[in-house]
């Protein structure tokens, strides 16, 4: 867990969630939920839909204010300005080129755009030669890669991903997982996914979020470093166990 990130802070940080209380439509979603997400590692959050995975991610991102409780870095300081967020839809602005979309953060903050860094990132996600194209000229997989480049361009120690690869076909998803794993190395990544296979391929740590109010239960990650091959080592066995854990929890849900 002592991997250092290539970002400007030079240090990867834990993400700490402390006694989070949050209600959704009057029903308690979290009641004193606490968790610690390890620095420099990918943590995958699994669980039934509607179970609060995305809400937890939004609370960490500062997009949803909890009734009580705090979210902060392992150093005790707030996470403001230290997170990058990636959604399941690419959220590219259709009137901007791939290059300008990647530079969106800097453009919004009024900072000078490091065009060399932008083009280098687009090159690393395999989009060299497509920099000037607008999103409508790109395939779904390519757009999601632009979104990945935009997330990396923010160069933040914490990266929050909400089902980042769920909207693309299986082969594209597989390649994007490899790419994300390589490019996100050293950052604290919290990834929400509904796909146990994806969690088992990418996660250093796994959590299942379920129940009302929701509880986080750790699940055993397979051996070896991500990205893991789908049939390597104990992954198939872990897959089986994870599916059982998920279906056991699904039975206790209201829907």
């Amino acid at each position: 867990m002592s991997l250092t990130t290539p970002d400007k802070t030079g240090q990867s940080i834990d993400v700490v969630v402390e006694s989070l209380v949050l209600a959704f439509d009057g029903a308690p979603l979290f009641d004193a939920l606490s968790a610690r997400f390890a620095a420099g590692a990918i943590t995958c959050l699994l669980g039934p839909s509607g179970g609060g995975k995305s809400t937890l991610l939004r609370a960490i991102a500062g997009l949803t204010r909890p009734t009580q409780g705090t979210v902060h870095g392992g150093d005790g300081a707030p996470l403001d300005g230290r997170i990058a967020y990636m959604d399941q839809s690419d959220l590219l602005l259709p009137w901007l080129s791939a290059r300008d979309n990647v530079a969106l953060g800097a453009r919004l903050r009024g900072e000078p755009v490091d065009r060399i860094a932008v083009d280098r990132l687009l090159d690393r996600v395999g989009l060299a030669g497509h920099e000037g194209k607008t999103p409508d000229a790109l395939s779904g997989g390519m757009r999601q890669r632009v979104a990945l480049a935009r997330t990396l361009m923010e160069d933040r120690p914490v990266v929050l991903m909400d089902e980042p690869f769920s909207a693309v076909d299986a082969l594209t998803r597989y390649r994007l997982q490899d790419l994300a794993c390589e490019l996100l190395r050293g950052r604290t990544v919290i990834m929400v996914t509904h796909d146990p296979q994806e969690a088992l391929r990418l996660g250093h740590h796994l959590f299942v979020l379920s129940g009302t109010p929701a509880r986080l239960q750790p699940a055993q990650a397979p051996d070896g470093a991500p990205p893991r091959a789908p049939s390597a080592g104990d992954l198939p066995a872990r897959h089986e166990a994870l599916l059982q854990a998920l279906s056991a929890n699904a039975g206790t849900l209201p829907r």
């Binding site: 500062g62 997009l63 259709p94 969106l104 919004l108 607008t134």
Partner: protein, 255 residues
């Protein structure tokens, strides 16, 4: 069939229908001149009609520029500032519920018989569709884009978000407002000319009608219709060029 082909076919179809009505009813030329009579009058008195058309066109264009500018400005103000919403929204609605016909005499009284009162009328009629549709667009920014911007800026740069995300995202809505404005703008100018003026197509139609020069009246009407249609398509074309990412607008004329 291309768009141009369809337009030409429609115009020819309408002219044939017009001629058929003239033949079938046997209406005398002083009640319903044939298309041929109208066109020959149009050609004979082209310079005379063009002079009046130029006045009306100038009124429409000035009204369009002023009305659209005020409309865009108030939509932005209302979208940005809560107090502005409380004060300006009633003004916006009032501007629409008062019929232009009812205040036309007032405007002529205040602004005189010249172009100013007609420009004022056109401005009034254009303001509402532009302001309301643009405001609608500004309020309907995809909340996920705004969330993304918030993780990038911490919510500290509302003006940059407005300028770089909300306004571009609302341009298609502004485009539909401008299309409606282009279609109704001639009404404002012509009503103004009817109430009191010394030039313009509305004035010409009123005078020709009073002197039972129905062919001249029809020639003026035809010119006004041609101008209005040309204006609509010009704006439609400009909007599509300005908002190329908006696929829906390109299906305004399904092929």
């Amino acid at each position: 069939m291309t768009a141009a082909g369809r337009i030409i076919a429609t115009v020819i179809g309408l002219l044939v229908l017009w001629q058929l009505v003239v033949w079938a009813t046997g209406a005398p030329p002083y009640l319903l001149p044939s298309p041929l009579d109208t066109v020959s009058t149009l050609i004979e008195r082209a310079g005379f009609i063009a002079g009046h058309a130029a006045v009306t066109l100038a009124e429409i264009l000035a009204g369009l520029v002023i009305g659209a500018t005020i409309g865009v400005a108030s939509a932005i103000l209302i979208a940005l500032f809560r107090p502005a919403r409380r004060w300006l929204l009633p003004v916006l609605v009032t501007s629409q519920v008062i019929p232009v016909f009812a205040i036309a005499p007032l405007l002529v009284l205040w602004l005189g018989y010249g172009m100013a009162s007609k420009v004022g009328m056109a401005t009034l009629i254009i303001y509402f569709p532009v302001a309301s549709s643009f405001l609608d667009g500004l309020r309907r920014t995809d909340p996920r884009w705004l969330d993304l911007a918030r993780t990038m800026t911490g919510g500290t740069r509302p003006l940059a978000v407005l300028w770089q995300i909300r306004i571009p995202a609302a341009l298609p809505a502004l485009g539909s407002g401008l299309r409606v404005a282009a279609a109704v703008a001639p009404i404002g100018a012509v009503v103004g000319e009817w109430v009191g003026s010394g030039a313009g197509l509305g004035y010409l139609m009123l005078q020709a009608n009073a002197r039972v020069q129905i062919d001249l009246m029809f020639a003026a009407l035809l010119t006004l219709a041609a101008m209005a249609v040309a204006l609509y398509f010009l704006i439609d074309f400009a909007v599509r060029r300005a908002v190329p990412w908006q696929r829906e607008t390109t299906t305004a004329l399904p092929s």
